[in-house]
């Protein structure tokens, strides 16, 4: 390490971060052991495991945005999505595996927001991995009790005339919010509309972007 600056700050003025040299945790060791056993016993190959990780990393909120944009532009698809979220996503050729999806729709009078108080259930087979805050104890405990305050901290202030529906994802279903279609988008293509649909708008902690 150079000697002409503080030991605590890098030349660019940021604190040095400790290297992650700590020993493996119990569960990290368990994960490695199970993975190696699966490979040694011929249940899976390393390539298959990597392909699964790649497939999960390839999923992103952009997939959900396409589903929402189609629901905004295709009334028959919207009906199918509300009736059976999983089948509607499969119809669009998204590889969602065993995901059991319920789509809930924001309207002029109703705003939906999704939380999992028990753990961190999230429709990751459609939207990719959950944001870190979604798994935080604070988001999980406060959203069921003071959703309006939580939403206002996300920059979403709802009038008292709008009813909030909180969905606690406690068991087998996963949820996606169909945000309200922004004003001023009449005649837009689904492709253009999809760019307005954010991850947070599909969790309910945000609104779709306005043009």
């Amino acid at each position: 390490m150079p000697h002409d600056h503080s030991d605590h700050l890098s030349p660019s003025g940021h604190p040095y971060r400790a290297d992650n040299d700590e020993p493996l945790s119990y569960w990290q060791t368990m994960e490695i052991a199970v993975r190696e056993l699966l490979i040694e016993k011929g249940v899976s190959t390393a390539a298959e495991i990597n392909a699964q990780i790649d497939a999960m990393d390839a999923r992103s909120p952009a997939d959900g945005a396409q589903v929402v944009a189609r629901a905004w532009t295709d009334p028959a698809f919207r009906e199918r999505l509300l009736a059976n979220g999983s089948d509607a996503c499969r119809e669009m050729d998204f590889d969602i595996g065993a995901l059991q999806l319920i789509a809930v729709e924001n309207t002029r009078d109703t705003h939906n927001v999704i939380v999992c108080t028990l753990c961190s259930c999230y429709p990751r087979n459609l939207l990719g991995l959950a944001p870190d805050w979604y798994k935080s104890r604070e988001y999980r405990s406060r959203t069921v009790k003071e959703p309006r305050k939580v939403l206002s901290e996300f920059g979403v202030t709802l009038p008292d005339t709008v009813q909030i529906r909180v969905h606690d994802s406690t068991a087998d279903m996963r949820y996606v919010v169909i945000p309200a279609r922004p004003d001023g988008t009449d005649g837009w293509s689904a492709e253009a509309l999809a760019k307005l649909v954010t991850r947070d708008s599909m969790i309910g902690t945000g609104l779709a972007k306005t043009p």
Binding site: S86, I102, V144, D168, S169, D172
Partner: protein, 98 residues
């Protein structure tokens, strides 16, 4: 026949209460809803009982209900806006008719 994705809500909502039992183990019924009364939003399942599946046991197939509660029912005077609602999925053996 029950479908995994549920049925449309019935005309007259059926009121149910979440049992107040506190068994140990892998439970998918949040403690803050125990003893609370809501109404069935839709019926789902059947799904294997997670309280058995979590321990490698064959899970008994159970009906899962989406139950809707008012915030007033859950939080009483502390509700942020009493008319707001919360939906949760509750397995049939946790519900009793009201």
């Amino acid at each position: 026949m029950a479908t995994p994705m549920g049925k449309p809500p019935v005309a007259k909502p059926q009121r149910v209460r979440v049992k107040t039992m506190m068994p140990p183990g892998h439970i998918r019924t949040p403690a803050y809803l125990r003893g609370k009364t809501g109404w069935i939003e839709r019926q789902l399942g059947p799904f294997g009982n997670p309280e058995q599946l979590a321990y490698g046991l064959p899970g008994e197939e159970l009906t899962l209900y989406r139950v809707r509660f008012s915030m007033a029912e859950i939080w009483g005077d502390q509700a942020e806006r009493p008319e707001d609602t919360l939906d949760a999925e509750i397995y049939e053996h946790w519900l009793e008719p009201v």
